[in-house]
Symmetry: C2
Subunit: 368 residues, 2 copies
Amino acid sequence: MSFEFEIIKECKDTGARVGKLYTPHGCIDTPIFMPVGTQATVKAMTPRDLKEVEAQIILGNTYHLYMRPGEDIIERAGGLHNFMNWDRPILTDSGGFQVFSLTKLRTIEEEGVHFRSHIDGSKHFIGPEESIRIQNALGADIIMAFDVCSPYPHEYDKAKEDMERTIRWAKRCKDFHSREDQALFGIIQGGMYKDLRRASAEDLLAMDFPGYGIGGLSVGEPKPLMYEILEDLMPMMPKDKPRYLMGVGSADSLVEGAIRGVDMFDCVLPTRIARNGTAMTSSGRVVVRNATYKEDFTPLDEECNCYTCKNFTRGYLRHLVKSNEILGSMLITMHNLNFLISLMAEMREAIIEDRLMSFVEDFRQRYK
Amino acid sequence: MSFEFEIIKECKDTGARVGKLYTPHGCIDTPIFMPVGTQATVKAMTPRDLKEVEAQIILGNTYHLYMRPGEDIIERAGGLHNFMNWDRPILTDSGGFQVFSLTKLRTIEEEGVHFRSHIDGSKHFIGPEESIRIQNALGADIIMAFDVCSPYPHEYDKAKEDMERTIRWAKRCKDFHSREDQALFGIIQGGMYKDLRRASAEDLLAMDFPGYGIGGLSVGEPKPLMYEILEDLMPMMPKDKPRYLMGVGSADSLVEGAIRGVDMFDCVLPTRIARNGTAMTSSGRVVVRNATYKEDFTPLDEECNCYTCKNFTRGYLRHLVKSNEILGSMLITMHNLNFLISLMAEMREAIIEDRLMSFVEDFRQRYK
């Protein structure tokens, strides 16, 4: 059945669990990392590269696709899957985060947000119904409710106001959404305040969404605060619904999030830092550009089996990065995605084999 | 035997021939197009992508590799093949063309050229011996003599002077070169003057190189003039040595060159225009960026079997190009290289099957 979420195994010591989420384009294993394909492409990766690193689901950004090429063109191409030739699941965000972070001259009203395009300054309006209409046209498997993201740091009153509006907008999104082959997730907001987060969750749970995003974290706050908020929030979340921690993509946050019960993660981090020449490895980040790797003819990560690590050296990758060669972005992106996706696969295995805590301890030791 | 050049078939109607050139890293079929890997990477292509489009040999640019990362590093990595993980043949140019076109504050003496780096302005000197020393360190299968390229347009006296110096430098290159696993090709110069070209060829032939480059063409002169020079020159070239027309990479020039007896071609054209969003197709160039392709959900080239054409539409490629996405460069580069490499494979087949003229007539009709 579409959108069934099945728990395969729960960890006895932590909130972590292994699940399977069924979608019209196939099943995904959780906990999972989802690469971000902002403009209908995961930057520097072909769809077959994505399959090689075992990406099971990718993201599309509603705001960007609405701006370029336009959701009408994507709809006429047969939807985002056809347009970009990706036959596995896709999740689109609501556009909320980009509208609040990228655009200029924003006016936020109860109805929605008036803003100007970050590309050409043209005037636009997106509200809850508009976001759902666009996401319906894009045709992803999982779509998100249009939310208000509080800038960090923020006052209690501001976080409360944004959270409450997000609840009202979630209701409007749910009422407007009609495609049965798309699961609409609600988004928990509430800034850095636990009581607001709980209130947000309570109201959204009453609306019974098939899954829940946790938005507005990893926006500049200290990581321990993010973990505290998750620890406080998770016990009230229903076990049978997937939990998606939005915009989080550092290796340590993935591990710490998953042991607290998060099922899904996405972030541009692994692909963005790859293009700046930084690799994620089993012993922490490697700034490939550094002169120290000039004559280092060993792989990026000795433990890794990706195409990059099996075929190229740090010295060569450094040369590519220093020379601004596209191949440098391609190869490091491939490695970074493989690293995060494998990390989650290893974590699922550790949960299933009842050895999660030793896996996590080992990870914390190695990954500085 | 290394560097044996075997003629498999000669066309009865034209100067075209099909050959096999053996090198320490394998045999290449001629006529052939060789993708350019300027900085130890064919831009936007992995080595496995290159094998998929059936690249048999690629180029490296001596000037660029000397500048970055430095031939010493490549030598310590085990040579250019190891450094970039390409196990098929490689050809390096002499650095002459780049020294004469990219650098500043050049002083040309009989000894060689003093110049400043195009990257950091640092002072350098490359003469014939230096070029061979660098190319020996890089370790390509085929290396080129250090030559003087006359800027176009040029006077007779200037072309003569440059050609004569190129001859003297070729002699010094030959004397200095020692690696038996590298074939050193001489380069015919002489600008747009047939008598100078013939004089250049005569002197170089007397030195008995295992192959001959034809340099200084496709530098801005009308194409018919280039073909005329080739027609005049080819009859005096020995049949049993490969002929390499340097820096030529438009589809029509490849076909016209091959029927006049050219065996090898290289050019940045297919990869460079790909990154600007222009595709080479069986019916001519397609400027993917054009608005006309906005909702064109057909492949770039219906007749093409490359990964790009089998999986993506013009509309999608246009979106990638307009959005400055790396994937656009990757996919169009893949297609353009596949196109030129296949074109030469089809031409070899036509020669072998005694139907070259009908192949060429058909090509001239289709390719506007």
